[in-house]
Symmetry: none
């Protein structure tokens, strides 16, 4: 009736008001019901019956409003996609990323909750002592046959764990290399039936930096009893042999596998006698125990500083700096060999960790003379860019060398993926790819040179009954 | 002879000059040959014969230099292990990333192979026509029971495909958001037993930009017959409902699932009637056929430009710009409904794609009133940051709004992962996390609120006999 006197806009506003008016009325009604329920509440809050009524009512309102709301959201989406208005006035800034002050997203909000400060004089602990994990885990596995710890007779369920800081890198290219690094890991793990966990959360502020992996590893082992082996891998380590399958059977009687040399650890106590940038840890009581033994040197501040001095004193060639997890593990193994040694496998038959410095200049030679699947000096499983620190401000090596070589290592690994699909990088230094074969009318007969498309180590017999 | 009077460095410089001098002479020679060829050129440039000669000559030069170079590299590696010097004088730069000129890694090497230039007047093709894919795929699956296309009775094998440019982003934070985005996808896919393929290769230079997904998708379908559904997802789309499982059974009779509305596509021909930023495509002949139908508007240059004009003319509300894959699909469906429509499911019961503009300001409301697992407007499966373009220079929206909201969306999803382990972000804007429960001595009894630790949709019965 009033329509004639109203503009279309005003008309819509009133219609909306009336629609919302019905909704408002309903809400008022329900508030009364809830209040009533609360006033007459027992120990646990609103009586179930009232809650159910409320749920039903809202459900009814939603169902009635559904088609219209969906349509309106679609229209709102259309309008918003055309204009660039923002709901938050403070966000009406430039559309130009070059003009954007990164400080605006770097500063972190606080929710005002007090940071829990542990008494530093008390010994550090990763969590309450657990002593019967093997038994509990075995029981859980029995109750959960659909989350088996073995994917095939000789193939344990493996979780590869890696991560990086939740902050943007201090230098512009750092995040780009983190991105390439995780793509590289995704590729290897997809081929080998391994799951990936990328961590970006600091679970314990005291255990920051290289120590952050300890609380994370313990948490994941205990939360995922179905995982048989946890494979920790640094963000600066890349897979360069996509065809190499870890010889799981070799470690049947071992719980902790690191690249290293017995002599360098047990005899020399050399701080680089082993490497903790890429290691395998079995999900069992023994592992929880060694984690508990490992952690105490980690808490930052005085504890880590003092522990660092001890390690520099006790280990061969160690520079002066705060305690790191790698040195700590050398120390533990060297001083408690009887306790831990029999379950630790220091592997050097293949590069579970491969120091980049002696590998990256040989890629062309490897391509010329060898092939994927060897995992060792001829075709390293892992090329680990220790010391490059592309996410930070300073590395231990010239930046250009690090970045160029990281590109080459990435491409070296990526070529093994691309060849499955008939492509390869133009050079080991080039981002660009070129064809190695034409598209085929018989793609299933394609020559998959290293049998990576459907490799034996990925085959899993699933029961779909 | 002069050696006695020269420093080692100067000596090396002269040797290099002489080596290059021979090369320079060869190049001069070849330039003459090429010029001669050009002066006598036919319609398409240098006669084939001359080009072949040139290629052969360069190949010869390369082969002669090979063994000596490899040996020198090996020696250099040995020297390098001892010192931190670099083999390449240009890599003796600073260890300070802030001083590094990113241009040094941005420029891309060329291997000299000629870029294949397809005749643009001929119709574009993704590859040789395949007409019996269903039959061939079925045979392959029968022969390969350990690569089944179903993981469980109602659970198809799914491959999620995404990717980004192999170049570092034009702005510093772009790669950081790509990193968070892939972590987000890794998390969802791990929970749902879905594999991930992260692409960083441009398979076909003509199909650059949004069209790059077509050759990639076709390649992956044909290379992986075990994949039942390929799920394409843009790099600017994030999972915000970690608990929602796609209702695979709903699509038993469909091959192509996109978020959209029938009326907006078939009646209105609205260019945003559907979204190709997140869609499901079944691995079958029908899909190969629609890919072939889709591709022709893609080749960059005149074809894409002209196609863009047609699409702006034919579709509702479409702005003026070159042809994009989304508009092209609207056009195909709207004009060939009889041919394709019955196998296309335009889904809007949940947000297979959710436009960020109407979702991100409601996260707090969602947390207050709803819970994961709904997938729709109450708790969107996907929040898609269309138009933000964080990897580029300019977006369609203010930068600050985009980045802040992307942080919130990421944290909204990440909280659902963290809560499994007893943590949550301090606020939706904060990178930092806080505990929601203490470490427990009985971790297997933990209350996993949304049953995500060992969800039903991940359970797979493997046969380890």
């Amino acid at each position: 009736m009033l329509d004639r006197f109203l503009s279309p806009r005003r008309r819509r506003q009133i219609q909306r008001l009336m629609r919302n008016g019905k909704l408002t009325l309903f809400c008022l009604l329900l508030t009364v019901v809830v209040l009533r329920g609360n006033l007459g509440a027992g120990k646990f809050g609103t009586p179930e019956k009232d809650l159910d009524e409320i749920r039903e009512t809202f459900s009814y309102i939603r169902r009635r409003a559904e088609p219209r709301r969906v349509l309106e959201e679609a229209k709102a989406a259309q309008r918003q996609q055309k204009s660039s208005s923002s709901t938050d006035a403070s966000e009406n800034g430039s559309n130009n990323y070059a003009e954007f002050d990164i400080g605006k997203i770097l500063k972190d909000e606080d929710d005002g909750t007090e940071e829990f400060k542990r008494d530093p004089s008390l010994p550090y602990s990763l969590g309450p002592k657990i002593s019967d994990w093997d038994k509990r885990r075995a029981e859980w596995l029995k109750r959960n046959p659909n989350f088996s710890n073995f994917m095939a007779p000789k193939k344990p369920r493996v979780l590869l764990v890696t991560g990086s800081s939740p902050k943007p890198c201090e230098n512009p290219v750092g995040d780009h290399y983190l991105l390439k690094s995780i793509k590289n890991k995704i590729d290897y793990c997809r081929l080998h039936g391994i799951e990936v966990f990328y961590n970006m959360a600091l679970l314990d502020a005291e255990m920051a930096g290289f120590w952050a992996k300890l609380p994370l590893i313990r948490k994941l082992l205990l939360s995922h009893p179905e995982v048989e082996f946890l494979w920790w891998m640094d963000s600066d380590a890349m897979f360069t042999d996509m065809a190499f399958e870890v010889p799981w059977e070799r470690y049947t009687d071992h719980n902790f596998v690191m690249h290293g040399w017995n002599e360098m650890v047990y005899d020399q106590k050399n701080w680089i006698g082993l490497n903790t940038g890429s290691f395998l840890l079995r999900n069992c009581q023994w592992s929880l125990d060694i984690l508990d033994t490992w952690a105490p040197m980690g808490p930052k501040g005085k504890v880590r500083e003092e522990a660092g001095k001890l390690l520099t004193q006790e280990l061969k060639d160690r520079p002066v700096f705060e305690a790191d997890d790698q040195s700590a593990m050398v120390y533990i193994l060297a001083t408690q060999k009887d306790k831990w040694g029999d379950k630790v496998y220091l592997e050097n038959a293949y590069y579970l960790h491969g120091y980049w410095g002696i590998l990256v200049d040989r890629y062309e030679e490897m391509i010329e003379n060898y092939h994927p699947g060897l995992g060792d000096h001829r075709w390293p499983l892992v090329t680990h860019f220790v010391g490059c620190k592309p996410c930070g401000k300073f590395g231990d090596y010239p930046v250009e060398r690090c970045l160029k070589q990281m590109d080459r290592a990435f491409n070296f690994g990526d070529n093994q993926i691309l060849q499955m699909y008939g492509f390869t990088h133009k050079t080991l230094a080039s981002r660009r790819v070129k064809r190695t074969r034409n598209e085929m009318s018989n793609p299933l007969d394609v020559r998959d040179e290293h049998s990576l498309l459907h490799p034996a180590f990925k085959a899993v017999k699933v029961s779909t009954s």
